[in-house]
Symmetry: C2
Subunit: 111 residues, 2 copies
DNA sequence: CTATCGTACTACGCCTGTCGTAGTATTAAT
DNA sequence: ATTAATACTACGACAGGCGTAGTACGATAG
Protein backbone atom coordinates (compact mmCIF):
# COMPACT_ATOMS: atom_id res chain seq x y z
CA UNK A 1 0.00 0.00 0.00
CA UNK A 2 1.48 3.30 -1.11
CA UNK A 3 1.45 6.06 1.40
CA UNK A 4 2.93 9.50 1.65
CA UNK A 5 6.46 9.46 2.94
CA UNK A 6 7.57 11.96 5.53
CA UNK A 7 10.53 12.86 3.39
CA UNK A 8 8.32 14.19 0.66
CA UNK A 9 5.92 16.02 2.84
CA UNK A 10 8.72 17.48 4.92
CA UNK A 11 8.51 21.22 4.68
CA UNK A 12 4.98 21.10 3.31
CA UNK A 13 3.17 20.46 6.54
CA UNK A 14 3.62 24.13 7.32
CA UNK A 15 2.15 25.06 3.96
CA UNK A 16 -0.90 22.88 4.46
CA UNK A 17 -1.55 24.31 7.89
CA UNK A 18 -1.18 27.87 6.65
CA UNK A 19 -3.58 27.16 3.82
CA UNK A 20 -6.24 26.18 6.33
CA UNK A 21 -5.54 29.26 8.41
CA UNK A 22 -5.98 31.59 5.43
CA UNK A 23 -9.72 31.70 5.94
CA UNK A 24 -10.03 31.69 9.71
CA UNK A 25 -8.02 31.02 12.85
CA UNK A 26 -8.04 27.45 14.03
CA UNK A 27 -6.44 25.05 16.49
CA UNK A 28 -4.62 21.73 16.45
CA UNK A 29 -7.35 19.20 16.53
CA UNK A 30 -9.50 20.98 13.98
CA UNK A 31 -6.59 21.45 11.58
CA UNK A 32 -5.75 17.79 11.93
CA UNK A 33 -9.26 16.72 10.98
CA UNK A 34 -9.39 19.17 8.10
CA UNK A 35 -6.15 17.87 6.64
CA UNK A 36 -7.51 14.37 6.83
CA UNK A 37 -10.80 15.21 5.16
CA UNK A 38 -9.41 17.59 2.54
CA UNK A 39 -6.86 14.97 1.54
CA UNK A 40 -9.65 12.42 1.34
CA UNK A 41 -8.13 10.35 4.14
CA UNK A 42 -4.89 10.10 2.16
CA UNK A 43 -2.85 12.03 4.63
CA UNK A 44 -3.12 12.15 8.39
CA UNK A 45 -0.69 14.48 10.11
CA UNK A 46 0.94 13.18 13.28
CA UNK A 47 0.10 15.09 16.43
CA UNK A 48 3.69 15.83 17.32
CA UNK A 49 4.39 17.02 13.80
CA UNK A 50 1.41 19.33 13.93
CA UNK A 51 2.12 20.94 17.28
CA UNK A 52 5.80 21.36 16.60
CA UNK A 53 4.88 23.03 13.32
CA UNK A 54 2.74 25.53 15.25
CA UNK A 55 5.59 26.28 17.64
CA UNK A 56 8.08 26.69 14.82
CA UNK A 57 5.79 28.91 12.78
CA UNK A 58 4.98 31.11 15.75
CA UNK A 59 8.68 31.56 16.40
CA UNK A 60 9.12 32.48 12.74
CA UNK A 61 6.26 34.96 12.90
CA UNK A 62 4.00 33.14 10.46
CA UNK A 63 1.22 32.61 13.00
CA UNK A 64 0.08 34.18 16.27
CA UNK A 65 -1.54 32.24 19.09
CA UNK A 66 -4.37 33.30 21.35
CA UNK A 67 -6.47 31.55 23.93
CA UNK A 68 -10.08 30.63 23.68
CA UNK A 69 -11.59 33.32 25.97
CA UNK A 70 -15.17 32.22 25.71
CA UNK A 71 -14.68 28.56 26.66
CA UNK A 72 -18.34 27.70 26.12
CA UNK A 73 -17.33 24.16 25.35
CA UNK A 74 -15.31 23.82 28.54
CA UNK A 75 -12.10 22.83 26.82
CA UNK A 76 -9.00 24.99 26.75
CA UNK A 77 -7.66 25.54 23.29
CA UNK A 78 -4.84 27.47 21.73
CA UNK A 79 -5.93 29.10 18.51
CA UNK A 80 -3.59 30.22 15.77
CA UNK A 81 -4.06 33.08 13.38
CA UNK A 82 -2.01 33.59 10.24
CA UNK A 83 0.04 36.80 10.04
CA UNK A 84 0.96 38.89 7.03
CA UNK A 85 4.39 37.25 7.04
CA UNK A 86 2.62 33.90 7.09
CA UNK A 87 0.58 34.79 4.05
CA UNK A 88 3.68 35.89 2.20
CA UNK A 89 5.46 32.70 3.22
CA UNK A 90 2.52 30.64 2.00
CA UNK A 91 2.67 32.38 -1.38
CA UNK A 92 6.37 31.65 -1.64
CA UNK A 93 5.81 28.01 -0.83
CA UNK A 94 3.18 27.77 -3.55
CA UNK A 95 5.62 29.15 -6.09
CA UNK A 96 8.30 26.81 -4.80
CA UNK A 97 5.95 23.88 -5.09
CA UNK A 98 5.21 24.66 -8.73
CA UNK A 99 8.89 24.81 -9.52
CA UNK A 100 9.62 21.63 -7.61
CA UNK A 101 6.82 19.79 -9.33
CA UNK A 102 8.09 20.87 -12.70
CA UNK A 103 11.58 19.60 -11.93
CA UNK A 104 10.64 16.34 -10.22
CA UNK A 105 8.27 15.35 -12.98
CA UNK A 106 11.09 15.30 -15.48
CA UNK A 107 12.42 12.33 -13.53
CA UNK A 108 9.14 10.51 -13.11
CA UNK A 109 8.13 7.77 -15.52
CA UNK A 110 5.99 8.88 -18.43
CA UNK A 111 7.34 12.40 -17.82
CA UNK B 1 14.50 34.23 -6.27
CA UNK B 2 12.63 31.03 -5.72
CA UNK B 3 14.66 27.88 -5.52
CA UNK B 4 14.05 24.31 -4.59
CA UNK B 5 14.35 23.70 -0.88
CA UNK B 6 16.10 20.64 0.43
CA UNK B 7 13.06 19.78 2.50
CA UNK B 8 10.96 19.31 -0.57
CA UNK B 9 13.44 17.38 -2.58
CA UNK B 10 14.41 15.22 0.37
CA UNK B 11 13.81 11.64 -0.55
CA UNK B 12 13.50 12.43 -4.24
CA UNK B 13 17.16 12.74 -4.99
CA UNK B 14 17.32 8.96 -4.95
CA UNK B 15 14.45 8.80 -7.41
CA UNK B 16 16.10 11.23 -9.80
CA UNK B 17 19.36 9.33 -9.71
CA UNK B 18 17.63 6.02 -10.30
CA UNK B 19 15.77 7.49 -13.23
CA UNK B 20 19.05 8.37 -14.90
CA UNK B 21 20.41 4.90 -14.18
CA UNK B 22 17.43 3.20 -15.82
CA UNK B 23 19.01 3.48 -19.23
CA UNK B 24 22.67 2.90 -18.48
CA UNK B 25 25.12 2.75 -15.61
CA UNK B 26 26.70 6.04 -14.69
CA UNK B 27 28.86 7.78 -12.10
CA UNK B 28 28.70 10.80 -9.82
CA UNK B 29 29.91 13.61 -11.96
CA UNK B 30 27.90 12.56 -15.00
CA UNK B 31 24.71 12.15 -12.97
CA UNK B 32 25.26 15.55 -11.46
CA UNK B 33 25.53 17.21 -14.85
CA UNK B 34 22.54 15.31 -16.19
CA UNK B 35 20.36 16.42 -13.29
CA UNK B 36 21.40 19.98 -13.93
CA UNK B 37 20.68 19.85 -17.64
CA UNK B 38 17.49 17.79 -17.45
CA UNK B 39 16.11 20.21 -14.87
CA UNK B 40 17.08 23.09 -17.14
CA UNK B 41 19.53 24.45 -14.57
CA UNK B 42 16.75 24.63 -12.03
CA UNK B 43 18.22 22.06 -9.74
CA UNK B 44 21.84 21.33 -8.97
CA UNK B 45 22.43 18.46 -6.60
CA UNK B 46 25.13 18.99 -3.97
CA UNK B 47 28.12 16.70 -4.26
CA UNK B 48 27.82 15.36 -0.74
CA UNK B 49 24.14 14.70 -1.21
CA UNK B 50 24.83 12.80 -4.40
CA UNK B 51 27.60 10.58 -3.10
CA UNK B 52 25.81 9.80 0.13
CA UNK B 53 22.77 8.83 -1.94
CA UNK B 54 24.93 6.34 -3.86
CA UNK B 55 26.24 4.84 -0.64
CA UNK B 56 22.79 4.59 0.89
CA UNK B 57 21.26 3.07 -2.22
CA UNK B 58 24.01 0.52 -2.54
CA UNK B 59 23.48 -0.48 1.07
CA UNK B 60 19.77 -0.83 0.33
CA UNK B 61 20.45 -2.92 -2.76
CA UNK B 62 19.04 -0.44 -5.26
CA UNK B 63 22.32 0.00 -7.09
CA UNK B 64 25.56 -1.93 -7.56
CA UNK B 65 28.95 -0.33 -7.98
CA UNK B 66 31.79 -1.39 -10.22
CA UNK B 67 35.08 0.15 -11.23
CA UNK B 68 36.01 1.57 -14.55
CA UNK B 69 38.28 -1.22 -15.85
CA UNK B 70 39.20 0.34 -19.15
CA UNK B 71 40.41 3.73 -17.80
CA UNK B 72 41.02 5.13 -21.26
CA UNK B 73 40.49 8.59 -19.89
CA UNK B 74 42.96 8.11 -17.08
CA UNK B 75 40.53 8.93 -14.29
CA UNK B 76 39.32 6.44 -11.74
CA UNK B 77 35.58 6.31 -11.49
CA UNK B 78 33.03 4.32 -9.59
CA UNK B 79 30.09 3.43 -11.77
CA UNK B 80 26.69 2.49 -10.49
CA UNK B 81 24.21 0.15 -12.09
CA UNK B 82 20.55 -0.07 -11.08
CA UNK B 83 19.34 -3.43 -9.74
CA UNK B 84 15.95 -5.09 -10.05
CA UNK B 85 15.16 -3.92 -6.53
CA UNK B 86 16.17 -0.46 -7.61
CA UNK B 87 13.78 -0.55 -10.53
CA UNK B 88 10.97 -1.68 -8.28
CA UNK B 89 11.81 1.04 -5.78
CA UNK B 90 11.79 3.62 -8.55
CA UNK B 91 8.32 2.48 -9.62
CA UNK B 92 7.06 2.78 -6.05
CA UNK B 93 8.48 6.25 -5.74
CA UNK B 94 6.72 7.30 -8.93
CA UNK B 95 3.42 6.08 -7.55
CA UNK B 96 4.14 7.79 -4.26
CA UNK B 97 4.94 11.00 -6.05
CA UNK B 98 1.64 10.98 -7.89
CA UNK B 99 -0.23 10.48 -4.65
CA UNK B 100 1.75 13.16 -2.88
CA UNK B 101 1.22 15.61 -5.68
CA UNK B 102 -2.50 14.99 -5.59
CA UNK B 103 -2.63 15.64 -1.85
CA UNK B 104 -0.32 18.65 -1.71
CA UNK B 105 -2.10 20.40 -4.53
CA UNK B 106 -5.31 20.52 -2.55
CA UNK B 107 -3.47 22.90 -0.25
CA UNK B 108 -1.87 25.04 -2.93
CA UNK B 109 -3.52 28.25 -4.08
CA UNK B 110 -5.77 27.94 -7.10
CA UNK B 111 -6.08 24.23 -6.23
C1' DC C 1 -20.50 4.88 39.10
C1' DT C 2 -16.75 3.37 36.55
C1' DA C 3 -14.45 2.84 32.37
C1' DT C 4 -13.58 4.07 27.88
C1' DC C 5 -13.49 7.27 24.09
C1' DG C 6 -12.79 11.75 22.08
C1' DT C 7 -10.70 16.09 22.73
C1' DA C 8 -6.48 18.97 23.35
C1' DC C 9 -2.46 19.16 24.16
C1' DT C 10 3.18 18.93 26.24
C1' DA C 11 7.78 16.74 26.85
C1' DC C 12 11.69 14.20 25.39
C1' DG C 13 14.74 12.32 22.43
C1' DC C 14 15.95 9.46 18.24
C1' DC C 15 16.47 9.12 13.19
C1' DT C 16 17.75 10.36 8.66
C1' DG C 17 18.66 13.05 4.52
C1' DT C 18 20.80 17.27 3.37
C1' DC C 19 24.53 20.32 3.42
C1' DG C 20 28.69 23.10 4.85
C1' DT C 21 33.45 22.69 5.08
C1' DA C 22 37.56 20.69 3.94
C1' DG C 23 40.82 17.89 1.80
C1' DT C 24 42.95 14.68 -1.93
C1' DA C 25 44.44 13.44 -6.58
C1' DT C 26 44.68 13.51 -11.61
C1' DT C 27 44.39 15.73 -16.20
C1' DA C 28 43.82 19.68 -19.35
C1' DA C 29 44.25 24.22 -20.45
C1' DT C 30 46.33 29.00 -20.08
C1' DA D 1 53.37 27.44 -12.99
C1' DT D 2 48.80 27.97 -11.85
C1' DT D 3 44.11 27.46 -12.32
C1' DA D 4 39.96 24.87 -13.73
C1' DA D 5 37.61 20.69 -14.31
C1' DT D 6 37.10 16.06 -12.95
C1' DA D 7 36.10 12.57 -9.29
C1' DC D 8 35.70 11.73 -5.31
C1' DT D 9 36.04 10.91 0.64
C1' DA D 10 35.50 12.36 5.55
C1' DC D 11 33.28 14.57 9.27
C1' DG D 12 29.95 16.68 11.73
C1' DA D 13 25.96 19.95 12.25
C1' DC D 14 21.11 20.81 11.46
C1' DA D 15 16.18 20.37 11.28
C1' DG D 16 11.76 18.25 10.53
C1' DG D 17 9.25 14.20 11.38
C1' DC D 18 7.98 10.76 14.49
C1' DG D 19 7.69 7.24 18.34
C1' DT D 20 6.56 6.98 22.98
C1' DA D 21 4.60 8.60 26.95
C1' DG D 22 1.96 11.28 29.91
C1' DT D 23 -1.70 14.84 31.48
C1' DA D 24 -6.35 16.46 31.86
C1' DC D 25 -11.13 17.21 30.94
C1' DG D 26 -16.00 16.05 29.35
C1' DA D 27 -19.31 12.86 27.39
C1' DT D 28 -21.16 8.39 26.70
C1' DA D 29 -21.92 3.45 27.63
C1' DG D 30 -22.46 -0.46 30.34
Amino acid sequence: MISISSDVIRGYNDTMILYLLLEKPSYGYEISKQIKSLSEEKYVIKETTLYSAFTRMEKNGYVESFSDEDMSNGKKRTYYRITEAGRAYYQEKCAEWNLTKEVVEKFIEGN
